[in-house]
């Protein structure tokens, strides 16, 4: 069965009309997003995330390579039928009301008027804007625009949601609400592709992640694998100097904390061995913990290593 998204050697070079200077915004990206997965695309500003999304949606044309959406070439208009998209820095026409905006984009997505009439109140209620349907978008706050934008992306019950910074400008409650909506969609089998610089948000919601930097994939994998098994932390009191020196040689890191010594070991064996030595010297063990790195650690490391 085909993937939700598959990119093969995707390249996008922008050339300046006047100077002829080239910018390789996307430089040979190949990645797969499985059906039903929650995928996060991360990267620093200017890494090529938004350009990659634009290539997927055919808003920009690739210089080389190709992308498919559910097996269809992304350049075909029909490839975009199963996609619901919320752009970053969207500018919804302010003369529209929430209701008319959903109706317009629903019609463009191919929905008939009866389905639109049924779906609009449902979605406005889902995003907490049931009482705002007949108000012009010009009067909406940033968070409300983001939520009505999400409703727009959900209008035709898409199989693939592409969201560019969906929590941008949304307060914590709204953010939680968006996450709940996305989790419900995930359970219904929708594929969710999240383009975000909010690492905590991606870590909380996405199962798979790709980090791109300077137009290339710097790291790709499951969030669980990338952040797991970083090490073991042992905090002990009354550690003799001789033992501290011995363990320091084996530990990844050592720190003094509240008068105690904290060791960080890379493997379980090393941690167990250290515990045996510490107990043999009758040291007080204050804490033993398995530490994981955050996605932020993984992100910073991936960017620096590239």
């Amino acid at each position: 069965m085909s993937c939700a998204i598959e990119a093969e050697g995707l390249v996008k070079i922008f050339r300046s009309r006047w100077s002829g200077k080239e910018v390789r915004a996307v430089d040979g990206i190949s990645l797969r997003v499985e059906r039903g997965s929650t995928f996060g695309l991360l990267g620093p500003n200017g890494a090529g995330k938004t350009t990659f999304v634009k290539l997927l949606l055919s808003a920009a044309h690739p210089t080389a390579g190709r992308a498919t959406v559910f097996g269809r070439d992304s350049r075909e208009p029909e490839a975009r039928r199963p996609i619901g998209y919320l752009p970053e820095n969207h500018r919804f026409p302010t003369y529209m009301t929430g209701h008319s905006m959903l109706d317009f984009y629903g019609a463009l997505s191919g929905m008939d008027s009866a389905s639109r009439r049924r779906r609009i109140p449902e979605l406005l209620a889902t995003v907490g804007l049931a009482d705002w349907g007949n108000t012009r978008l010009g009067k909406y706050s940033k968070g409300m625009l983001q939520r009505v934008g999400l409703a727009q992306a959900l209008m035709h019950a898409p199989a693939l949601l592409v969201l560019d910074e969906p929590s941008d400008g949304v307060d914590p409650i709204g953010r939680r609400q968006i996450r709940d909506i996305l989790q419900a969609l995930e359970q219904q089998g929708a594929t969710i592709f999240l383009n975000s610089h909010l690492l905590a948000e991606v870590e909380l919601f996405c199962r798979d992640v790709a980090i791109i930097h300077r137009g290339k994939v710097a790291l790709e994998g499951k969030v669980k694998d990338l952040t797991a098994g970083s090490g073991y932390r042992i905090e002990a009191d009354n550690v003799p100097e001789r033992l501290e020196q011995e363990l320091r040689a084996k530990a990844m890191a050592v720190a003094q904390r509240n008068g105690n010594v904290e060791f960080l070991f890379g493997s379980r064996e090393q941690a167990n061995e250290a515990l045996d030595l510490l107990r043999a010297e009758r040291c007080e063990i204050e804490a033993v913990a398995c530490t994981t790195s955050t996605l932020e650690d993984v992100f910073v490391k991936a960017i620096h290593e590239q």
């Binding site: 808003a59 044309h61 975009r80 820095n89 500018r91 919804f92 019609a107 463009l108 727009q152």
Partner: protein
């Protein structure tokens, strides 16, 4: 055209209407038309005597008797001329922003993410813009035509045809707006270039005078080339006048050559839009 295509086209046309209605200039246009209609409906009294002679009363002043046919043609001619000149400028000014607004960052990406071919988006918008101006023109022209027809019993179909011709010229000029908008995404530049074409037309139409004034063959050829290449707004205005007054038509060349210009410019716009990155 299948139902899905129709639905998308209708949505694009309706959206253009909605945007036009949100702009004050559209209501200004409608307001001016309504004032003119009310003027002819209530202020101007036309009394027809024996089916041939008519007197006009304005604010209590009565003019001498006129041939009713001539009177109706004169008024229709004046309105058609107003629509063709001032109305055309207003129409371009009022609607020029409706095309470039589609290319605004944050709006165009969302439109392009829908399963609609790019040419369909642009043509839908073009059609919507034409529909907005058609509604304005026909509102004024049909109302005036009915008022005069009912008051005088004279029904001049040339007046109706002239409004169709006005819309036709606008349709040609709108292709220029689209082309410039696709390349520059600027309402101001699109309006300026279109006004430029409108203003240069009466100059290029004076070919005899220009031939005498220009010394080199090269410059004369360039003027001739420009005349044939660009839409003949001035000549089409003359055709519009002849239609209203019921005069015999001269050459139809301005009509078909302007159509060719419009088609070429529209095709170029669609091609450029297909290839652009957003």
């Amino acid at each position: 055209m299948n139902s899905r295509t129709m639905r998308v086209t209708w949505a694009l046309v309706r959206d253009t209407f909605r945007e036009a209605l949100a702009r004050k200039i559209f209501w200004g246009f409608i307001g001016c038309s309504t004032l003119l209609i009310l003027f002819f409906l209530f202020i101007m009294r036309v009394d027809v005597a024996e089916g041939a002679m008519a007197t006009i009363s304005l604010f209590g002043n009565t003019s001498r008797g006129e041939d009713v046919n001539r009177l109706v043609h004169q008024v229709h001619g004046a309105i058609a001329a107003f629509l063709y000149t001032a109305g055309m400028f207003l129409a371009v000014f009022a609607s020029a922003g409706l095309i470039p607004s589609v290319f605004e960052p944050g709006r165009i990406e969302l439109l392009l993410s829908k399963p609609v071919p790019r040419h369909h988006i642009l043509l839908g918008r073009y059609l919507g813009n034409l529909a907005v101006i058609a509604a304005n023109i026909f509102y004024l022209v049909i109302a005036i035509w009915l008022i005069f027809g009912i008051k005088t019993g004279v029904w001049t179909y040339g007046f109706l045809l002239s409004s169709v011709l006005t819309l036709y010229v606008f349709a040609v000029l709108l292709t220029v707006v689209i082309l410039v908008a696709v390349f520059t995404e600027s309402t101001v530049v699109a309006t300026m270039v279109t006004f430029g074409i409108m203003l240069i037309s009466p100059i290029l139409a004076q070919q005899g005078v220009l031939d005498r004034l220009l010394s080199s063959q090269w410059s004369r050829s360039m003027v001739h080339g420009l005349y044939y290449a660009l839409p003949k707004v001035f000549d089409l205005g003359a055709i519009s006048r002849r239609l209203v007054l019921g005069d015999p038509m001269g050459s139809w060349m301005p009509l078909w050559s302007s159509a060719i210009f419009g088609l070429v410019v529209l095709a170029t716009s669609l091609y450029a839009f297909e290839r652009r990155n957003y």
